[in-house]
């Protein structure tokens, strides 16, 4: 079998060597032979147009300007515009004059030639060291081949400096916006008016300034429960409503706050919240009134902001009042017989009381002794008791 196949291939090779002239009667493939198409003809490079070949430029008119130029043109003052128009017309006229155009082109060519002469430009092709055929697909672990970025150019700034520059550019961009565009915004400002009676719900959306954030579709709704009475709910129904909303109610501000982020988009979440509010109102009207359950406010810890009482403010009137009262008191004090002075009390006691005054004490002792002599008829100088 193998021998047969070899003999077959050999004959095929022999046949193939003879060239395409001989087509074998029987071949392996059924599709017809086709030759490679010839390369397409490369068109010759376009020749530089000569000065005479250019079509004449259309006559200048502001309508021909493109969009950006037109907006700049609109922002110009009238005298600037006239100057701009004149300059453009002159340039078009110069271009359309064939002689002048030729002279201008010749001038340009001359200058280009001059630059070529002055600047010695050579484009050297630095050949990288080849590692050879066997190392073609291997990573260059031993760094045998020089990298292109080995060369350090001292005149370039670093990447960090580039980012710093970028930052600076950004700052300047915003500074430009602040200086030029933001003053225009005041034209768009509208005076604040309170939301109308019908706008009870307040929705809050969050933007993360263009950044991606999982909480971007979150929507928060707030409503003051007193806004619902008496148009939508009676007072009793409002109490039921508050019992239904539970911990979402803040009794200090009377605001019910709910939020959702269960849907992928803001509009869906908003729709859902509005539906919840509607169904709550509906439930408060038609459902169980829960009159047997007191309103639970344990979730709320009241915040007391202690403020300086208005009545304590020192006004001119109050000052006079206090001064008058003080004067009255001082007058009343003058009417008193004496003012008690602790120091005087003590110094008086020191002089008057025998416990504190040794002279008085001695005197008292002497008197006592004298009495003792009289009554007891014994010498006062007794020996000490044993």
């Amino acid at each position: 079998m193998a021998c047969a196949a070899r003999s077959l291939t050999r004959s095929a090779r022999v046949l193939a060597r003879r060239g395409p002239g001989f087509l074998p009667t029987r071949s392996f493939s059924v599709s017809p032979f086709r030759f490679v198409s010839e390369d397409p003809v490369i068109p010759p490079p376009p020749k530089d147009l000569k000065a005479e070949d250019f079509p004449p430029a259309p006559e200048y008119s502001p309508d021909l300007l493109n969009k950006e130029e037109r907006s700049m043109y609109d922002m110009m003052a009238p005298d600037q515009r006239a100057e701009f128009d004149a300059e453009n017309r002159r340039m078009v006229a110069e271009f359309n004059d064939v002689g002048k155009r030729a002279a201008m082109f010749a001038e340009l060519d001359k200058k280009v030639n001059q630059i070529d002469k002055e600047e010695d430009l050579r484009f050297e092709d630095i050949r990288t060291k080849q590692r050879g055929f066997w190392a073609e697909d291997d990573p260059d672990e031993l760094a045998q081949v020089e990298d292109g970025d080995e060369e350090i150019n001292d005149d370039e700034i670093t990447a960090m400096a580039h980012s710093e520059m970028e930052l600076h550019r950004e700052v300047r961009e915003y500074a430009r916006i602040a200086a030029w565009d933001m003053p225009m915004l005041s034209k768009l400002a509208k005076p604040f008016t309170l939301p109308p009676e019908t706008h009870i719900l307040r929705f809050r959306y969050t933007t993360y300034m263009g950044e991606k954030h999982p909480a971007e579709p979150k929507v928060v709704v707030e409503l003051a429960s007193r806004d619902l009475t008496p148009k939508y709910l009676t007072e009793a129904q409002r109490q039921t409503f508050l019992k239904l909303v539970g911990t979402r109610y803040n009794p200090q501000t009377d605001i019910v706050k709910m939020s959702t982020e269960q849907f992928g988009s803001r509009a869906q979440n908003k729709r859902y919240l509005a539906d919840v509010v509607n169904s709550l109102i509906n439930e408060a009207k038609t459902g169980d009134p829960y009159t047997d359950i007191p309103l639970d406010l344990r979730h709320h810890k009241p915040k007391t902001r202690i403020q300086f009482p208005e009545s304590w403010n020192m006004t001119e009137e109050r000052r006079q009042q206090l001064a008058a009262r003080r004067a009255e008191r001082l007058n009343a004090e003058k009417a008193r017989p004496a003012i008690v002075d602790g120091n005087k009390v003590v110094s008086h006691a020191v002089q008057a009381l025998p416990e504190f005054n040794p002279a008085l004490k001695a005197q008292a002792a002497e008197e006592r002794e004298r009495v003792a002599v009289k009554v007891g008829a014994r010498s006062s100088k007794k020996p000490a008791r044993r």
């Binding site: 007191p294 309103l295 639970d296 406010l297 344990r298 008191r329 001082l330 009343a332 004090e333 003012i339 008690v340 002075d341 602790g342 120091n343 009390v345 003590v346 006691a349 009381l353």
Partner: protein, 508 residues
């Protein structure tokens, strides 16, 4: 190596004679003449000290430490001595100056509004009785004055007038009425001293004074308790506490009780004779704590009797009004430290002693012969109690004229779980007469402050000139005349710089 032998003479080399060699290096030669005539001796080489002592061969190293020498300490104070020192009440200080012209509290002075703001002394014979009812508390500052005295403030004079009216000097319409008051106020506002003044007035007017000096003693689990048989829900009696109460009452009211004779039949007390006095009756209780509660009940019915039982009329005398003073009411509104048989805490209202005194607050003529119930709250050792707070707020609101049906009437907050029994105490009275009142003690007025501080100056404690400006300053500093704060300001001992008399000659 050269041999040590001399081969020519075949003899060993002779050693060098000793005398030629330098002396051995054990002691260095001293060349100069020494100061000492004794031989030089070197110190012994220092021994290495170590706690690890190497022991003999094949024995482990043993850690030997010196034991600390026991120092003889003084014996600790005997049992109860420290407590006695802590609870000691000193009512006099001989170093303080005696205040001249200080009046005593008497039936005349206690209603004299001219004396408002002055400090009046407690009558000296009364002090023993006041001690007996434990009217004085430690740390009240009695020990800095020569003798105890209290300031006559507006509330005191009003109370004095009430005493006079209830005692019924003349034909006052209030004779025999019951006044029920709960006394509150800020810390240091003088609630306990207000009770003390009331007790003094009670003694002065010959009332029977019954006090519970500290409500906490009954609920802190310190005294014995036992369930009352057949009570439902189970109530508990505290025999030792009742016995102590009887002792206090007899000690303080001996004068009154010894004159009153038993007028009712008490089948439970066999040792009682028809001729015995109420003092004898009460003594049965503190001789035997087991029957103390029965005795107390008997004493209570005797004191509240308006007429004698049939057959005992011959020695019946009209009973005097009563003063009941309790301090630290909040302790009676919570659960106690006692446990019931199921090991659940016992509420204070289940203690029969407590319940007896609290039931007096309920509407009606709870003291048949009139009198006064003064129940003070405390702020120094106080359990926080929401139910009591609400009850007191309700009481205050009712007193301010807010109807219990109105919106503004304070109600307990939802889910706060207040105690219904406590709130019941403060329910509005059904009858109009003798409703529960709330008296809130505030600060002293300015002139009262002045009188109080002058008392300090007169006692030699305060060495300042008590003028209007200074008094105003202290009044403001004390939070508007809170008397406890004023006392702190007054007792600061400050030695004012005394002008020293310079000899004139020395200056020249």
């Amino acid at each position: 190596m050269a041999s040590a032998w001399c081969w020519s003479c075949l003899s060993r080399l002779r050693p060098t004679p000793r005398a030629i060699l330098p002396p051995p290096a054990v002691t260095p030669r001293i060349t100069s003449a020494p100061f000492h005539s004794t031989a030089v001796q070197y110190a012994n080489p220092t021994k290495k000290k170590s706690s690890l002592v190497a022991t003999k061969y094949r024995q482990g190293q043993v850690l030997k430490r010196k034991k600390k020498a026991k120092t003889e300490r003084a014996r600790p104070p005997a049992v109860g001595e420290r407590k006695a020192l802590r609870k000691r009440i000193v009512l006099s200080n001989p170093n303080a100056l005696e205040v001249e012209g200080m009046k005593d509290l008497s039936p005349e002075t206690m209603v004299d509004s001219r004396l408002r703001g002055s400090v009046v002394g407690l009558p000296v014979p009364m002090l023993e009785r006041l001690r007996a009812v434990q009217a004085f508390k430690p740390k009240q500052g009695w020990s800095i004055f020569r003798r105890p005295g209290t300031v006559l403030r507006r509330d005191t004079i009003e109370m004095g007038r009430l005493f006079e009216k209830i005692s019924g000097d003349g034909d006052a319409p209030e004779k025999g009425k019951v006044i029920k008051k709960i006394i509150t106020g800020m810390k240091g506002s003088g609630k306990t001293v207000h009770l003390l003044q009331a007790m003094t007035m009670g003694f002065l007017k010959n009332w029977v004074v019954i006090t519970v000096p500290d409500a906490r003693d009954l609920v802190s689990g310190d005294t014995a308790y036992s369930p009352v048989e057949g009570s439902k829900p189970t109530q508990y009696v505290q025999p030792n506490a009742v016995s102590a109460l009887l002792t206090r009452t007899v000690e303080a009211n001996r004068q009154v009780l010894s004159t009153l004779k038993v007028s009712q039949k008490h089948p439970g007390l066999s040792g009682l004779k028809p001729t015995s006095t109420l003092e004898d009756l009460a003594k049965l209780g503190f001789q035997d704590a087991a029957i103390a509660w029965t005795v107390f009940q008997a004493l209570w019915t005797e004191l509240n009797a308006t007429a004698a039982a049939p057959g005992m009329e011959n020695n019946f005398e009209a009973r005097p009004p009563m003063l009941v003073a309790v301090d630290g009411l909040a302790h009676w509104m919570t659960e106690t430290a006692y446990r019931d048989a199921d090991f659940k805490p016992v509420h204070a209202h289940d203690l029969i002693f407590v319940q007896h005194f609290l039931s007096l607050l309920k509407s009606g003529q709870s003291l048949k012969n009139g009198g006064m119930l003064l129940y003070a709250t405390s702020t120094s050792n106080n359990p926080s109690n929401y139910s009591l707070e609400v009850g007191l707020n309700q009481l205050a609101a009712r007193q301010a004229g807010i109807a219990p049906t109105s919106e503004e009437y304070p109600q307990p907050e939802a889910y706060s779980n207040p105690n219904a029994r406590v709130l019941d105490l403060f329910k509005p009275a059904t009858g109009k007469e003798s409703a529960l009142e709330l008296q809130t003690l505030g600060g002293l007025a300015r002139d009262e402050t002045r009188g109080f501080l002058e008392y300090f100056a007169h006692s030699g404690l305060l060495r300042e000139s008590v003028n209007e400006e200074w008094v105003g300053e202290k009044w403001t500093l004390s939070g508007g005349g809170i008397i406890g704060e004023l006392e702190k300001l007054g007792r600061h001992v400050r030695t004012a710089a005394q002008p020293v008399a310079q000899p004139v000659a020395a200056a020249n």
